[in-house]
Symmetry: C2
Subunit: 451 residues, 2 copies
C-alpha cells in the first residue's frame, strides 16, 4: 500500500469508544424494555424518504437543516424526526392497522445544525405514540407519565419531575384574559419566561396590545406555586367562563388521576401552566421532564397530545399522544457528568485466561459458562501473563478465570474478582455461582448515580 | 387542510407491518444476544461518512451503487457495508483500543441496486469481527462457526451446514497444479461452478492456458465428496509440495478441532474446497452457511480471515476474522416462505379489556401484571365488546383478561386463552401464573419452522 487516507469521523456525528458504547446500549435497552412492557409494537421506517413526503409540512427552518439530495430522478431526504415517518406509515396503512396503533421507534435522525458541543447532526430519538382512529381516550395520556416514571426508576433516578399542562387549559385562560385571538403570540412570549424573565415578558405582552397590569395578573396565575390539587381547584373556580378551559381542566384532572393509579408518585408530577411545548402541533396534554438536581439539562422526555397526526397525507382524523427522548443528547450529558455506573461498560462477565499452550480446557470452560448465561470471552493470544491481565483491566471485566496446569490438574480454576482483587481456587460450578451472583447484583443496580 | 401528499415508501426500502416487525425484532434480538454472549463489544458508527473514507478502496461497481451527495463543502456517502467503517474506527483509535478488539454491529447499509423482489437498497447487516494487532491466533477463526451454530440453534434450525475453506489451501493447490500465478482467474472461474457447470468451467480454465485434463483433475480434487477427515488426509498427502498448502492445511485442521471443542457438531461443518468468497479480501479461512433443506436461499452467514483490515488508513498491520449476516434479505426469505412462528408477532402477552366505564380496576391490574414481567396493554377505548375482541385478535395476543362488574366484585378476572378459546375465572395471581407459563413456553419455542 502506498498512500493512506486520514481516518476521521464527520463532526457532529457521535461515535463512542467501546466502553461508552456499552453504556449507551444499556440505557437504550432500558428504554426499549420499558416501551415493550406496555405492549407497544416496534416500528422501523427507512432513514431515506421521498423529499415531498418528509417536507409536506416543513417550514423554512427545517428545509435549511435537512440532508436532501438526488439519486437518479429521485429527490431524497434523510428523516429529521420519527413523527413524520410515523404519520406517513399510518396514513399508508390506515386500512390495515388495528387502532389504537401503539408503536415505539428508536432510531437515528439527521439535522444539519451548526456543530457544537453536545449538539449532534446524527442522533437517536426514542419515541412512543398511541394513534387513535377518529377518537382516542384521554386515559392514554396518563400512560405516558407512567412510562416515563418506569424509565427513570429503572435508570435509578428518583428525583425527577414530569411537568404537565394542557393546551386547552392555556387557550381557555387566554380566553378568560381576553387574548385568545393572540394565543400563539402570547404563548411564544410566555415560553421565554425562564430565559428573559418576568419584566421582559410583561413588556413584550404589552407590545402585542395587552394591558401591563393584566399581563402581570396572567403571569401570576400561570406561575402559581401551588400543589396540583390547588391548581385544579383554582382552574375549577373559573368554571363556566370558557368551555375550552372546562374541557382542559377535566382532561388535566383525569390525566393526574390515572397517572396516580398507574403508580406515578404525586411528587413526580407537577402541573405547570407555563409550559406549552411548541406552537402549532400539540392540542391537549403536554409534558416535559426535568431531573430535579440538574434542571440545566433541560427536558429529558417531552411530548403531548395532538389532534391530527397525518393531516398532510390523509383526510382521516388520527389523533394521538406520545413522547420523545433525545437519547444521543441525553447520553452525552449523562456521560459528560460521569453519572453512569461504569460497571455496565464491560462486554463480558468473565475473561478466561489460559496459561498453557493447549487452550482446550479454556475453550471447554467457556462453553460451560456461556451455557449458563454468562457472557464469556477466552483470551486466545500468545502473550505474557501481565499483558493478558492488562487486557482484562482495559475491558473492565468483573472476573478473570485463570487456567494453568495446576488448576487443570485439579479440575478447577483461579477466579479473580477484579474489583476486590480477591482470588480463589474454585470449581467451574463455584465460579459460575459467583459470577451469576454478580450479574444478579448488577441487574438490580442503579445505572445512573445522580445526587 | 387542502391538498395532501400521497403517502409512499421508496422502492427497495423494507418497511414491515407491525406483526412482521415484531418477528424481525425477535430474530435481530437472537443475533444480538448471541454476539453478546461471546463478549463482543457493541459498536455504532455513523451512517454518513466522508466520501474519501468510504471510497478509499472502492472500485467502479461500488461507486455506481453508492448514495453520495454534498452538503455545503462536504462530500458525503452513506455507508454500503459495516467493514469499511470498522476499518476507519480501528485505524482512528488504534492507540486507545485493547487488542484483540472484538465488536459486533447490527446496522443499516445502503446500496442503490436495481430494485427487485428480495433485493433491498437499505438493509441490515449483522457483523462480528475480531481484530488483532500484528497477529491474531487461528483459534479465533473457530469461534465464528461456534457463534453461527448458536444462532441457528436458537432460531430452531438443526439442519445447516457451515462450509469452510482456506485461501492458503486453495493457493497451495494452485501452486501444486502449476497455476499459482493465475490464482485469481482460476478462483473466479471455479466460483462459477454451481452456475455454469463443470464443462464450461473446464473450457474457461483451458481458455486461460490450463491443460484440459489437468483442469479436470483440479476440479475433481477440489470437488471431492469426502468427510472432513478424509479431505484433511488428502491435503496432508500433498505435504511438502507447497509451504502455503501445508500452512493452510494446518489452519483448517486447527479450525475444525477447536470448532468441535466449542460444541459445533461435525455434521454441521463441511470442508468445501470450491468456496472462495470474494477475490481480493480474504487471506485464510473462509466460511459460508447453507440451510440444508433450502440451498436456494444461498449463504446466510459468510465471512473469513483477512490480513489487513485497515490498510487504506494505516500502515499498522491489523489482521482479523469475522462474518456477516444479511439480516434484511434473510428475514425476507424466511417470512416469504412462512418459516417464522407467528406466536412471536404479538406486542403484548395480555390485553386487558375493561367492561365497565370506570377503568380503574383494569389499570390497577395492568400495573400488577407488568410488575411481574408481563407485557401488558389495557384497551382504553369506548367500543363494543365485539370490537374489543377483534382488536385482540388482530394484535395476536395470546391472552385477554376481561374485567366486568362481576369479576371486579369477586376480585377476579376472566382470562381467555386466545389459542384454545378456553376461558376461566381467575385471581390475578392465577392469571399471572398462566400467562408467565406461556411466556416460558415461548422462550423455549423454536422461532423458525423449516422442514
Amino acid at each position: 500500500m502506498a498512500d493512506t487516507v486520514q481516518p476521521r469521523t464527520l463532526p457532529g456525528f457521535m461515535e463512542l469508544m467501546p466502553p461508552e458504547q456499552q453504556l449507551f446500549e444499556k440505557i437504550k435497552g432500558i428504554l426499549e424494555e420499558t416501551y415493550r412492557s406496555y405492549g407497544f409494537f416496534a416500528l422501523d421506517t427507512p432513514i431515506l424518504e421521498h423529499s415531498d413526503i418528509l417536507l409536506a409540512k416543513a417550514g423554512g427552518e427545517t428545509e435549511k437543516q435537512i440532508y436532501r439530495f438526488s439519486k437518479g430522478d429521485t429527490d431524497l431526504t434523510m428523516r429529521f424526526d420519527l413523527t413524520v415517518p410515523l404519520a406517513k406509515y399510518v396514513a399508508m396503512h390506515q386500512n390495515e392497522l388495528a387502532f389504537p396503533f401503539r408503536r415505539y421507534q428508536i432510531g437515528k435522525v439527521y439535522r444539519g445544525e451548526r456543530a457544537q458541543k453536545g449538539r449532534y447532526r446524527e442522533f437517536y430519538q426514542a419515541d412512543i405514540d398511541v394513534i387513535g382512529d377518529g377518537t382516542l381516550g384521554i386515559i392514554n395520556d396518563a400512560e405516558i407519565p407512567s412510562i416515563i416514571c418506569d424509565i427513570f426508576r429503572k435508570l435509578g433516578i428518583e428525583g425527577f419531575t414530569i411537568r404537565m399542562n394542557n393546551r386547552k387549559v392555556l387557550n381557555g385562560i387566554f380566553e378568560v384574559y381576553g387574548v385568545r385571538d393572540r394565543a400563539t403570540d402570547v404563548m411564544r412570549i410566555i415560553d421565554k419566561l425562564d430565559k428573559i424573565g418576568r419584566e421582559k415578558v410583561i413588556e413584550e405582552l404589552s407590545g402585542i396590545g395587552m394591558d401591563e397590569a393584566r399581563a402581570g395578573e396572567l403571569l401570576d396565575f400561570l406561575g402559581l406555586k401551588l400543589t396540583n390539587d390547588e391548581i385544579l381547584e383554582k382552574l375549577g373556580s373559573l368554571s363556566g367562563k370558557s368551555a375550552t378551559l372546562d374541557e382542559g381542566t377535566g382532561e388535566l384532572s383525569t390525566l393526574l388521576k390515572y397517572a396516580a393509579l398507574l403508580g406515578v408518585p404525586s411528587e413526580n408530577m407537577r402541573i405547570d401552566l407555563t409550559i406549552a411545548r411548541g406552537l402549532d402541533y400539540y392540542t391537549g396534554t403536554v409534558y416535559e421532564t426535568i431531573i430535579n438536581s440538574h434542571p440545566e439539562i433541560g427536558s429529558v422526555c417531552s411530548g403531548g397530545r395532538y389532534d391530527n397526526l397525518a393531516e398532510y397525507y390523509t383526510s382521516r382524523k388520527l389523533p394521538g399522544v406520545g413522547m420523545s427522548i433525545g437519547l444521543t443528547r441525553l447520553f452525552y450529558v449523562l456521560d459528560a457528568n460521569d453519572f453512569i455506573d461504569r460497571s455496565f461498560s464491560s462486554p463480558a462477565d468473565v475473561l478466561i485466561i489460559p496459561m498453557t499452550d493447549d487452550v482446550e480446557g479454556a475453550v471447554r470452560l467457556s462453553v460451560d459458562l456461556r451455557s449458563r448465561g454468562i457472557r464469556t470471552q477466552v483470551y486466545l493470544e500468545d502473550k505474557k501473563f501481565k499483558q493478558k491481565m492488562t487486557y482484562a483491566d482495559r475491558l473492565g471485566v468483573p472476573f478473570v478465570a485463570i487456567l494453568g496446569e495446576d488448576e487443570i490438574a485439579q479440575g478447577k480454576l483461579s477466579l479473580k474478582d477484579m474489583n476486590s482483587g480477591e482470588q480463589i481456587l474454585a470449581s467451574p460450578d463455584e465460579a459460575a455461582e459467583k459470577i451469576l451472583s454478580r450479574i444478579g447484583e448488577l441487574s438490580e443496580a442503579k445505572v445512573l448515580h445522580i445526587d
